[in-house]
Symmetry: D2
């Protein structure tokens, strides 16, 4: 009889509960990782609310930090007992999508194809990591050893939040001397601020209304923070830039309002870098789009994954260039994850991210 | 008393007429060009119909081929009598927008700013070239000598149609082995087909319904042409690509339908390159956008200008790589331009482009 | 007792002979491919001459076309009996190098590192494909099914020659309207000509002295062919370009002379794209390098591999855009491969490439 | 009789002296700038020593900070009395080179051509700014207003040192998480360190032997500083990176030794970004170049100029992201410029940069 482990599973709309599941078997290219720290993502709340459909009894969670418990027979270059992380997105490494540099859209097998968000597997199409153990497929493409001098919490943002937030700046092609706006300063928006600063933006404007988030943005590199309740943020941003607009606008929420405002503050030739997950059709306002004549670029990005990405992000954590530790505002045991969901889903107590430890 | 010339001017909605205007004075950085051939653009028809506002009595036209009549006192490196073209877009060369590689969005003077489509001046903010003479400002940045072995008609597509159409492929970043679709096969869409072929696309799909345009697309490089009246073009294109979708979709019309279809046939991670001029807000359908998770890129592009761009396009004309001469289906005298507008605006007689000669 | 197969093995300097070796065992991620067609590369001649060291009794050859004989237990998405190719370079898909888009420099296991040319394994660090069977490791990243309408010979250039030659143009970032020179018109140089044409170069200059190669270059897209015995090729090229120089110079031989000449004909700001394998230190002449002030770019490229690359190249073969079949000038049975080496190493009888069939 | 001004002119090898010259006349596109602060560059020392030839009696200096004294009749968007800088490189804005984004290689007039370092005019092909006044040609492309809150000294590094040093990182395409080495920590190397940090490098290694420079490098972002006298720097750097090598190596001196070492510490697929001005042919060692198989990129860059570049660099100065003021170690009056040259040419007293004020 298979050994059991605790896991946070989706039961039905409104209910993610801690239950028991068998510890997974380990195939030749897999690794079984004992989770030492993980966290809850905004996407998990969408799942909880039934806004994003997953199979019943799926284990939720896609931000694993842990220790290799068992390696598949074909996996080389790692050892059991090694501390590792894996990205929220786990590209296979061998799909057509991966081989054209698009691993987040990892399509199946040998089909020439791609699958929207197909690289996002944990807590979506396979069991995730809000559990005592998680099975990491294509382990050699995805496991990234944690440098000894970094704690679990110091690398906890790498699998998703940092990777996504930074990609907002990267895909926006932020350059030295750019003016950048970030709409919405949740954990991803805050990492987008940090990413824009890391890439050389010299004027960064954050937009939110929650004081703690606005304050965190300032610490991570925002030169100005605009409170959208204090007046039309588009007008505020245009005033801050003497009417010129911004070079890059990063959307980090997923609403019509933030998307549209991003375009309205963008200078002709600028880039709107969209990170949000949307829940309805989007409208592109004609004037803000220059009727098609404005040389605008709109990019949308799903969190990049894979072990090289994780390695680079941990380099950032270790470099002291930015300090993301304050993003972890709360700590819960896995046994109390239902309470953690309750706190996080309701955004109580100034919560940014919660460290969950089995 | 200033000498007079004939010019096609906008009088009011529905009326562009041939009238007399003074031949312009030549400032230090200007050149006066005697037009030998020009043409009418779809945009001019929008002006004619009052859909795009310009000042009354403005001379229309932005595709000049001619001979230098007089050079400003500061202009060096050219000589009077030289055959030249200038782009539809005439960047100053010295604005902030120009200096960051964005001359089509050329902002005024020393402001740090940009102006949507500010580089489009001829027949928009200054007198254009459907006239006996046109004044070219910032002549040294814009006049491009015509190689002797090329006729006026052979280079007539360079100022706008080729530059715009090719930019659809260039900004779409077409790569060797790509599958590319072009929605709408008017002159710009046809040049987008040619541009995609020039850049190495190996499967090019055109979409239209007019037999002459579909036939022209095949000659310019389309491997498949889909008639959108013969069934849902999205389904036809997905069938042609075994469900994989296209790497790059070029929109060359400016409607919700073509924009939306472009996104629907795009593989995750692909690029929608929009060339159309739109007349209302655009909707991005949620599913086609992968809810923001599809790593899509949407770029809009205004015709690139400047003498280096023109030089390169004339190199293409001279290289024999593609033959755009069949795009000129009709020829009119400037004296008969009102009839030419009538033909072109009503798309009679299989018209693609009309050569106008004073 | 293991079944045996014929294989061309390196015995010692000057001797590659046909011998018997065991048919390899198939591991979980491997595929055993029965070779139906392969070829000999210039690199193999370097091995033959002892200029490039490999282990004794290694099977030579890195351009496999064949049929899947047996799939490893973990390989999905293929079926036995399927016609496939694999690239000369076989990235694992899961190394750090692969995951940062640099699979040709595929480093070992989980080391963060890279290994110069580490992705080149066939006939270099593992047994190659001048044999009845070849074992393809990391099969899911490397096997690319051959479309039914393409013959073995039509895809025989994909694994190395096309991939390398095209990469010369791709890494040179050839753009529409560029002037490109290709130094040395062997099979790789000829494919560089084809690649430059595919990417939109409008003036392509080839340099060689062998009439058959010069003629082949014209057919593949060279607008001019310079015979370096008819005068200093640098002077000839500068004369052809009115002294301006070329935008991209592709070096396809691997000598000081061609490298140096490539730089000398390059306009400031241009790119020297080096494909050759060199055998001694290179000198960069001070003046040609503008003393460091010329904004030059020099790139060297090893043949890109992986199944997506192969898929794209086969798309080119099937598109009719270019016809590389004339590159196969001779055909030999595997049993006669020693004679084939003799012909090829001595460049007799106008040989370009030899199809070898077991 | 023309009014006179003081200017530092090149007389003969070994002699740059302060003398009188006429204040220049102002043409239509020119601006006369009254210099308030300037500096001496290493290149000026090369001129002094006769290592770089310029015409006798040329005014030296290419780093102007000043006040507009008089504007040409065609210049708009500025006003006399305005504080401005111009770059060391002054692209015309209207050459073919400028219009293809290569203004540092600005060729003459309408020739299609480029000229090596043709954009460097001040103190090279026209009178420079170590004088009371300097004439800025193509003023609208080059004059960049100084924000009020920045002092002369705060922007004094923009025209050359910052622009060059940063370009080392920019052309090296430094990415978040990169390891970067900078060889030689003079003012340009120090700015390369700052540029690499601004772009997100998380491990920066500087190489020098002068304690003050090594200390300055640490302050500007170097995580490690290697003393090349303390052991082979290649070995030290490989040890620091666990044998992996660096992603980007920036050469900031112009010698065979630093060039060669840059290549030797570079990982396969990495970029060598060369900033130095060389004085003899360079050798590329075969092994370090992977015999041509290493996917290496070597870029050389001349200081980018133009008003948009200057605007961006002043944004950096104003942002507080880095503090370059400590680079100004000495201050001299223009009247004492001969003494300043003496100090600077002999690198006495820990000199980095000298502010010269008329």
């Amino acid at each position: 009889m298979a050994a059991k482990m605790k896991a946070a599973i989706f039961v039905e709309k409104g209910r993610i509960v801690l239950d028991e599941k068998p510890i997974p078997d380990v195939g030749p290219q897999d690794a079984l990782v004992r989770i030492t720290t993980t966290t809850i993502c905004g996407t998990d709340v969408h799942i909880l609310k039934g806004e994003y459909p997953v199979e019943k009894r799926l284990t939720i969670g896609h931000e694993p930090v842990g220790i290799i418990e068992k390696l598949g027979s074909s996996v080389t270059g790692y050892h059991e007992g090694q501390r590792v992380i894996a990205g929220a997105i786990t590209p296979s490494g061998h799909s057509y999508a991966c081989l054209c540099g698009c691993g987040s859209q990892d399509g199946p097998g040998t089909r020439h194809g791609f699958k929207v968000a197909g690289g996002w597997k944990f807590g979506n199409t396979i069991d995730g990591c809000q559990a005592e153990y998680v099975l990491v497929k294509d382990a050699m493409a995805n496991l990234s050893p944690i440098p000894d001098h970094l704690t679990d919490e110091e690398v906890l943002m790498c699998p998703d939040i940092m990777s996504t937030g930074f990609s907002g700046a990267e895909r926006g092609n932020v350059r030295i001397g750019d003016t950048v706006v970030v709409f919405a300063l949740g954990p991803i928006g805050l990492c987008a601020v940090a990413g824009a600063k890391l890439m050389g933006a010299t004027r960064i404007i954050g937009v939110d209304t929650v004081p703690a988030r606005m304050e965190a943005a300032r610490k991570l590199g925002a030169d100005h923070v605009v409170d959208f309740r204090a007046g039309d943020p588009v007008e505020q941003i245009l005033a801050l830039t003497d009417g010129r607009g911004v070079d890059v606008a990063i959307e980090a929420l997923g609403t019509q309002s933030t998307f549209e405002s991003s375009l309205k503050v963008l200078r002709p030739g600028g880039t709107l870098s969209s990170l949000g997950v949307y829940s309805s059709d989007l409208a592109i306002p004609l004037a803000a789009f220059g009727a098609g004549l404005g040389d605008y670029t709109i990019v949308s990005t799903l969190c990049p994954g894979g072990k090289e990405r994780m390695r680079r992000l941990m380099e950032v954590c270790g470099s002291g260039r930015i300090d993301l530790k304050p993003l972890v505002t709360h700590r819960y045991k896995l046994d109390d994850i239902e309470a953690a969901y309750d706190l996080f889903a309701n955004q109580r107590d100034g919560v940014l991210k919660i460290a969950i430890t089995p």
